[in-house]
Structures are given as C-alpha cells and as structure tokens.
C-alpha cells in the first residue's frame, strides 16, 4: 500500500484533464489524453503490490510453491492498458496530421466547422 503512488496517479489524471480542457494546440490535447492514461496505469499496477512479496515468475528468484508473491493480475491489466494507450496516441496523431492538411491550422478554436 504505497501512498505516494496513489497520490501521484491522481495528480497525473487531474493534470491530464486540465490539459485537455484548456490547451488550444491539438497536439497538446493528445498529450493530455496520454497523461490521463499513464496516471491510470500507475494506479492499476500499484494496487497489486504486496509488501515483501517476490516476483511471480517460476524458476526465478526464490519462487516455490506457497511463497508470498505480488499479484500478477494487475500487471496483465496494466500491460493491456499501455497497449491501448499507444493505439489511442497513434490514431489521434494521424487524425491531427490529416486535420492540419485540411484546415492549415492546429488551433482548436478554428477547427469548428460542425457546430450549433
């Protein structure tokens, strides 16, 4: 139960949401989305920590049947979430490149053709 990790992850999520809400440059908005994802990844992997536990890999570092190890499930969840974050980044950046070619600006105040 590492308190610092949890506080840091909440700070990251809040900062990321702040960036999405206030910054005008499209690439900064994409970076904000990534920061939110990284904050949540830190949170997930911190929930699996057991104090004094060993790595859950067989045949490695004093691991035998009945030993006390950290929870491997959040590690799998975090890995999946990192992959999803990478895909979101790739897709968002491709859309930003396409938007720049069409509108010739990356200011979100001017990309407003659909409104009302």
């Amino acid at each position: 139960m590492i308190i610092v990790n949890y506080i840091a992850s909440v700070v990251l999520v809040v900062l990321g949401l702040y960036v999405i809400m206030t910054k005008k440059h499209l690439i900064k908005i994409v970076l904000g989305m990534s920061i939110v994802d990284y904050g949540i990844n830190l949170f997930i992997v911190s929930t699996g920590f057991n104090e004094g536990g060993t790595a859950p890999i067989y045949k490695m570092s004093e691991f035998f049947r009945g030993s006390f190890f950290v929870d491997p499930v959040p590690q799998a969840l975090t890995l999946t979430s990192i992959v999803i974050g990478a895909c979101v980044d790739a897709m968002a950046l491709s859309l930003v490149v396409k938007l720049y070619k069409q509108y010739h600006t990356t200011n979100s105040d001017e990309i407003r053709r659909l409104r009302g």
Binding site: V13, I40, I44, I84, V88, L95, S108, L114, G116
Partner: protein, 638 residues
Amino acid sequence: MSYIHFPVIAVMTLFMGAFLTVVFGRKSKAVRNILALAASCTAFVLICCLIKPVLIDGEIISYWMGNWSPVEGYAIGIGYEIDQLGMFFALITVFTVLMSCIYSIRYMERDSALDFYNVLFLMLSGSVLGLVLTGDVFNMFIMIEIMTFTSVGLAAFRNNKAGSVEAGFKYLVIGSIGSSMTLFGVAILYGNCHTLNMAQLSSILAGKLTPSTLMAFALMFTGLAVKSYIVPFHTPAADAYTTAPASISMVFSGMVNKAGVYGMIRLVYIIFRAMDKSSVQLLMVIFGVVTMFVGVTMALAQHDFKRLLAFHSISQIGYVITAAGLGSALGLTAGLFHAMNHTLFKGLLFLCAGAVYYAAGTTNLDKLGGLSKKMPKTCICFLIGAFSISGLPPFNGFASKWLVYQAVYEKAVTSGNIFYAFATVAAVVVSVMTLASFIKVTQAVFFGQLPASLENVQEVPALMRLPMWIMSALCVLTGVFYDQVNKWLLAPAAGAALNVSGYIDRMMGEGYAAEAGVVNIPVFAARFSFWNPVVWLLLFIIVLAAFCLAIIGSSGDRASISSAPADAEDGKYATFFSGEKSMPSHVSGSDLFWGFKKNWKGYFKVMDGIHSGRVNDYALYVVCAAALITVFVFGFVR
C-alpha cells in the same frame, strides 16, 4: 458441438471475417462482400440458435474460457455469461449488423478504400457482440475500447467531405475520457474486491458501500454514460452521426448507443444492486429528462437531415434511461421495449436518409424538396418511421411510449415525489415536439416543391430497399403484436435483470448467493393496463394543466405572434408570400416552425453557444458532469 460454444464462436467469426478481409479482400470487390455477408449471417444464425435454450427454456449459459472454473469460491478465469438480458441485446445487435451489411453493399459502391470499411465494420460488430455477452468487467472495458476505435475510424471515413476528420477527432477525445474513467472505476473495484467477475463482484458488494466503492460507482457510471451519449456527453455523437456513412449511422444509433445503455443497466441493477435506492433512481431520471428535452429542442433548429436525426436519437435514448431508471419491473420493461423499437425505427430513418443522399447527393434541408414524386417507396418507408417515432398507433412507438408514460406516472403515484409527475408531463411534451419536428422534415424533404437541380433523381436500387422493407414490416408487427413481444422477449429480459441471485448462482456454483446474503430487490409486477380509464383521465388533466400554464405564462407575447414585423437585419425570418406561382416560396422547408424559433430566441442562442464546436468545451462538460455525479453519489447514496 453443443450450443454453449456458440456465443464465443459468433464473436470470433466476426473478428476472423475482419482479418480475412485484410488478407484476401484488398483488390476484389466480390470477395469482400462475400466475406462480410458470410460473417454477419453466421453470427446471426448462431445467436438465433441460442433463442431456444436461453429465452424459451429460461437457462443461463455460463462459459468459463479455458475451463478455469472458480477455485475455493474465487473466480480466476474470464467468464461469458449469457442470460436473457444479454440475449435480448445480442439479438438487436446481430439483426442491425445484418441489415447494415446488406444495405452497404450498394450504398458504399461509390466510395474508395472499401477494404478498410469492411474491416472496421466487422470489428465494430464483433466488439459490441462481445460486450453484451461477457460476464467479466475488464473484458467489457476492452470491448468498449475496440468499439471506440473502430467508431472513430468509421466516423472519419469519408475524409474528403467537410468536417469528417474533425468529427472523428472530437469523438476520439471525448470517448477516450469516458473509457479512462471506466478503467479507473474497474481498477478501484479490483483493488477492493480482488476479482473481476461480475457475479462475484455482485455478491461481494452486497451492502458494502464504502467510500472507495462509491467512487468506483460514480466513475463507472460516468464512463458508461459517455458511451450512451446522454446530455451533456452527447456532443460528439451529433457530429459523428452526421458525417458517417448512413449505413454506419444506423449502426451507431441502433447498436453502439444500446451497448452503453446495457452497460448502465448491468452496472446499476446487477453489479452494485443499487436500484432500490431512491437517490440512484432520481439520478438516472434527472439525466433522462434533461436528455429528452435538450435533444428534441436542438433538433428543431437543425438544417441538416442527418444531424436532425442524430438529435432525435439522443432524445429517444433519454426515454430509455428515464424508464430504466425507475427501478420497477414495469419501468425496465418499458425501457427495454423502447430500446428495441428505437433500433428499428431510427435505423429505418437513417437508411432513408442514406437513400436520399445516394439519389440526390445532398442532405441539406434547404436544398431538398418534393422527393415523394421521384422516390415513392422510400417516402412510404420514411413515413412509417416518422409515425413510429412520434408515437402514433398502431406502430411500435405508440406501444412503448405508452408504457413509458404509464411507468413514470405509476412511480409518481406510488412514491409521491412531485418530480416524477413533472417527468411524465415532460415525456408527453417531448413526444409532441418530436411529431412537430418530423412534420417539418417530411415537408422539407418529401413534400413541397421539387428544386430544379433534383429533376433526374431516381429510386434507389433494390438491395438498398430490402433492409428498409424488412425494418418497416417489423415496426408494424411489433406495434400490433406487443403482447407476444412482451411474453417472449421483454419479460424474460427484465426478469433476468432483477433476479440477481440466479445470475450469481449459475456462474459461481449453487448456493453461493445465499451464503453471501444476496436478497432480490423487491419490485412491482409488470402489467399492461392500457385501458384503465382512471389513468387516462388523470393524464389528460395533468397535460391540460400544463397547457393552461403555458398559455398564461406567455400571454405577454401573444400580440407579437400574429403580426411579426419583418426585421431588416433578420432576413432569415422574413417571409414573402406574394408573387408568381412559378417562383419558389421563400419559407424554406427547414424553417417551417420559424415562429417557435423566434419566440424562443434566447434559449436557442444559449444552446448554440453551448454547442460551440470546440473540443475543449466538450471536454469541460464531461468533467463537470463527472464532478457533479461524484458529489451527488457521495452526498446522497447510502
């Protein structure tokens, strides 16, 4: 092969169809169409084979992947649990996919890069089917993510049209915030309960509402509400439904919306079992009423055909959320019935909009008109859809809307809360405004004068008309035979959502629910009392009182309604009725209710300012609503 493998095979068939299209379908159109049709038909047939065991015999299929059954009462594997509620939504899903697949064979032939279209479409279908069939909350999150990505790709598909890529980007930003909140909620739940299986979560959270699980509830509720596109999370949906191809708009409004609604019902009814708390009911009904009202008033001010249909879609989902949030069996039945009918009639309307675009080349209401002479069959299908959505008998919209009114009214009577009476009035008024809006659209597109540019418009091909005919026939049949629909589809689904101990027992072993102390929520039985005269009379009195209040409240403006001077700078509202017969009239079709718009100018100005088109504003609404929901949940849910 026994039927328990069928759900997984159905989901995997759709995904395999997508992968095979990448390998084989890059050059040849016939191979692509055959693969897409084969995958959709296989999934449809496999899910229909499950109707007999699940819906008729009442069995719940419980399938652990890799045969990892629970060990010492702890669920360690990913489980697929198909109960009647999931089966109901799965039937809606595969039907919509099949109709859209048949329609898009001819509709998309003028676009290029169609192999990408088929791949994205099949992956979208597979992900929604996986979402409604799964019994594991992290698997549900993964399917939500696949659904978001493919929807973004499909919304931005026609990237040579103005606004498509912009709509896709906004959809991605807002959808990503929603998914991240859902993941945060799932992570908090895992940290508390050390399990990801919905049945075991439901038994662990029995009455144990600590502050961290309340936070998880608020976050997951917000995340799934973003996926259902209720107000104030509806802003990317309006853009995406407009720019996506019509076969995809139909899938969005018929399937992707319902996936979000299914997620919310699973969350509130089964995982947290919080539906008997009046604060949670109030939360859902408030969202529903606001959604209904904002959706339909924004729709009255639109100039684009598909954007108008998108706002109506948002408004009808408001009906579903209001009815499902009442916590009674009648309310849930009404909500599910309206969800099914919404797929049918809204899908039909979007297909007609696509047919108009295919034939005429535009969806701007100011440029269309008089198409009923050139496209009579499309006009009939559109009229059936318009009558259904407005709630005219004998179509299905009437049956489900009447159930919604009855459910909300019954809740107002039994709970004594004045807010539910107000919600009943709001539901009826919104229905009237829906009818007004569709009169406007029908006059603008199909009746009226035919502009010179649309002289050689032809009827659409037969393969595009076939799904429209099938859906119109179903609209009429489900409206006339509502009793059969209730007996075979709705009553089992609503019963499954309320019978939580059966769900838990089937997944984790007999007797598990009783050990954990799970008690079913006490609810009222559903009854169809269409002909109770007291209900009619009281409803009529309420509506009459509301109407009188409206007249008295606006008595100051009545002089200006009859004699409106033409403002010099407000040329939009200027009318010119004299002149030659051959000259087109200056009241364009989309401004049929210009008087209404003029009287409510302040409201429409505020609403236009809110829908500003900036992605930062839309994100601000999401975060503010999430904060309000969190405060409400912490303050009132005990």
